[in-house]
């Protein structure tokens, strides 16, 4: 490629007034077409140059355009609306895409600057596989994770809420515990029943393993009648969730952050001990 097209490009509007094209090439488009007083035209040019020149200077000095900012050592992840799985949900749903959360967790685990993760939940449930995938990722992180349920952490939100190192629930927040349902065509009833039972087992055993609630107690809450109008199950609110052992403590943002900082301190001192 010859130099010609490149020079023409430099003369186009974004670059027209920079110092790069001071000697050759056609006149900038912004200048008047008359060439009678070319000596008078320059005075307005330097004023336009200034911000660009500053930017160029900062690039050459720092190698980047943005100034260093205060960085948090906590990564905050919010799980809102439906947990979206293998099927993209229609636009009336607010969704959290699991394929985005998972690499975020990988990045948080890998990034040295991040020392702890705060997961904030306000979810109505969603895909079983996607929800369990997030829950497993959260529970297998080496960095401390504190979860906080605000508003609601229903259905598949429950395993995510208990997956962290420590869990909080707001006093007014609620968690609905109900059985997994199946819609659509059923071909083999015994097989389908078995399959559904297994799916339910995955969720229940995960919750039992990661919280203080027993599997029996959880199943009892799940199949309780007379509490929900459209389903069997239980609506567990704030203090009750702690009473059943599902969540560790009732609290809000302040408590959750304090706990996370405590856990980070603990992890730091543990590392130091290993080094010595």
């Amino acid at each position: 490629m010859s130099k010609q097209p490149y020079n023409q490009f430099l003369n186009k509007p974004p670059f027209a007034s920079t110092a790069l094209n001071n000697n050759k090439g056609p006149a900038p488009q912004s200048s008047p077409p008359e060439e009678q007083e070319p000596a008078v035209a320059p005075p307005e040019a330097p004023a336009q140059e200034d911000p660009k020149k500053k930017l160029l200077d900062s690039i050459t000095q720092l190698g980047q355009t943005n100034v260093p900012q205060l960085e948090s050592n906590i990564y905050c992840m919010t799980i809102i609306g439906q947990v979206e799985g293998h099927i993209q949900l229609p636009p009336q749903n607010k969704t959290t895409k699991y394929e985005h959360l998972i690499p975020q967790l990988v990045a948080a685990e890998q990034n040295n600057k991040i020392e702890g993760v705060l997961v904030i939940l306000n979810t109505v449930g969603g895909d079983v596989e996607a929800g369990l995938a997030i829950a497993e990722m959260v529970s297998s992180m080496s960095k401390p994770v504190v979860t906080l349920v605000l508003g609601g952490g229903h259905s598949i939100g429950v395993p995510i809420a208990v997956a962290g190192s420590y869990s909080f629930i707001a006093e007014t927040a609620t968690m609905t515990i109900h059985p997994i349902r199946l819609t659509g065509l059923v071909i083999g009833v015994p097989q389908t029943f078995e399959y559904l039972d297994k799916m339910q087992d995955r969720v229940v055993s995960f919750i039992a393993r990661h919280s203080n609630i027993s599997e029996e107690k959880f199943r009892e809450l799940m199949t309780r009648t007379g509490e929900l109008t459209r389903d069997i199950g239980t609506n567990v609110i704030g203090v009750d969730a702690v009473k059943y052992g599902l969540i560790d403590e009732v609290g809000g943002l302040g408590k959750a952050l304090k706990k996370l900082n405590e856990l980070i301190e603990k992890a730091r001192s543990g590392e130091e001990r290993v080094l010595q």
Partner: protein
């Protein structure tokens, strides 16, 4: 797929035809591939990010819903 949610399935899957209508384009920026929904000439909204570098997922300008501007290299 099993949906485990307190929202009734029929509510979740209403307007499913709108999802099918959505046309996505794939654009690449270095190693990151993005699925973009076109909103105008040379601009769109990120729907999904596919990247081998997990740190890309922490960058706010790569998050889904962000507007991106792109133009083919030959146009420059």
């Amino acid at each position: 797929m099993i949906l485990y949610s307190i929202i009734p399935t029929e509510t979740v899957f209403a307007n499913m035809e709108q999802v099918e209508k959505q046309e996505l384009e794939e654009i690449t920026n270095g190693h990151a591939t993005m699925l973009v929904e076109r909103t105008g000439p040379y601009e769109g909204r990120i729907v999904r990010l596919i990247s081998p570098d997990p740190q890309d997922y922490l960058k706010p300008h790569y998050a889904p819903g962000q507007k991106v501007q792109f133009r083919p290299e030959w146009l420059v």
